[in-house]
Symmetry: C2
Amino acid sequence: MRIPRHIGIIPDGNRRYAVAKGMSKEKGYDLGIDPGLTVFKLCKQYGVEEITFYGFTTDNTKRPREQRLAYTKACIDAVRLLTNEDADLLVVGNTESPMFPEELLAFTKRNAFGSGRIKVNFLVNYGWEWDLNNLKTLNDGRKNITKNIKSNDISRVDLIIRWGGRRRLSGFLPVQSIYSDFYVVDDYWPDFKAEHFTEAIEWYQSQDVTLGG
Amino acid sequence: MRIPRHIGIIPDGNRRYAVAKGMSKEKGYDLGIDPGLTVFKLCKQYGVEEITFYGFTTDNTKRPREQRLAYTKACIDAVRLLTNEDADLLVVGNTESPMFPEELLAFTKRNAFGSGRIKVNFLVNYGWEWDLNNLKTLNDGRKNITKNIKSNDISRVDLIIRWGGRRRLSGFLPVQSIYSDFYVVDDYWPDFKAEHFTEAIEWYQSQDVTLGG
């Protein structure tokens, strides 16, 4: 079986899930923590080497305060849970803004927890413009870009799985996603089922990797 | 009806189509010219304001010589055909490489043909790394990026339609595609049917535009 080396997770639909269940929107985020841990364990079991979670973005911070507090707390809790696992953990995002939770500052250098076998990247207050704004005019092409973006410790993503039905990247790692295969699950993220993951891996079997060639 | 202001066209599957019809791979590119003209006319009819065609990329130039010559010729022919239409036409790509056809140099400044009502961008010897490598370290965020990429005359893409079943961007305008909705047609590009386009527009009706918010 061909296993993607690096999987990106876009866990969308938390608010729509909450509304569908008659809850207020911000209640959805907490329900996304367990799915995150489950998908991490599935990745480990399948031998995936690197996984990147789309926590929240600088775009997201324009949302109402109670939502902002709720998704920030969910990200903090999720990162803390991952410290109990075998994860080589890094939080990536703009730490210079007040929207970055200080509880996660300690995680902005990569740290191995447990046996640290899987690289886990967690995007927190991440912005595509923040990421790209560091580029230099060195004119040495592709390597210049991948080395000089702020997220340079995150490698090329092979497979992106997005929950919640939207077929868009919404600013997720534009450089690392250049050649990624993109799989969309219609169910909302809090409705995560292991089958979503295994179906995405199955679908990935039928994709070739050409890197644009 | 909600019409995307800017549509990106990824016309993939020319070689697979040719092979499926018992032809050699390079024969597929010529068969992609008519679909391009048809989709242009559909865009005009629907009131789309801007359309970007993914001609060929710097990645593609690694392909065998006969394929390279064939897709280059198809791009030249397609651009020439568009000069007979109402198109405000611009060819965007790395002109400093020998892979850029000199026949298209005259089109690398925007020119209005006919009544020039639709902006048409045609990517020729385009490379995402070439596009991004121009960025400066001005630290003024999003505007810095959109103004300083080489493709700065191409605006944000609302809807990308890709033919040939692959669910990936393959380097297509990474900055302008940050928030794009992405619609995939399984049929190969030479098998283009107007229904592909109208179904994509119909699907687009059910998408919201949040720009990551």
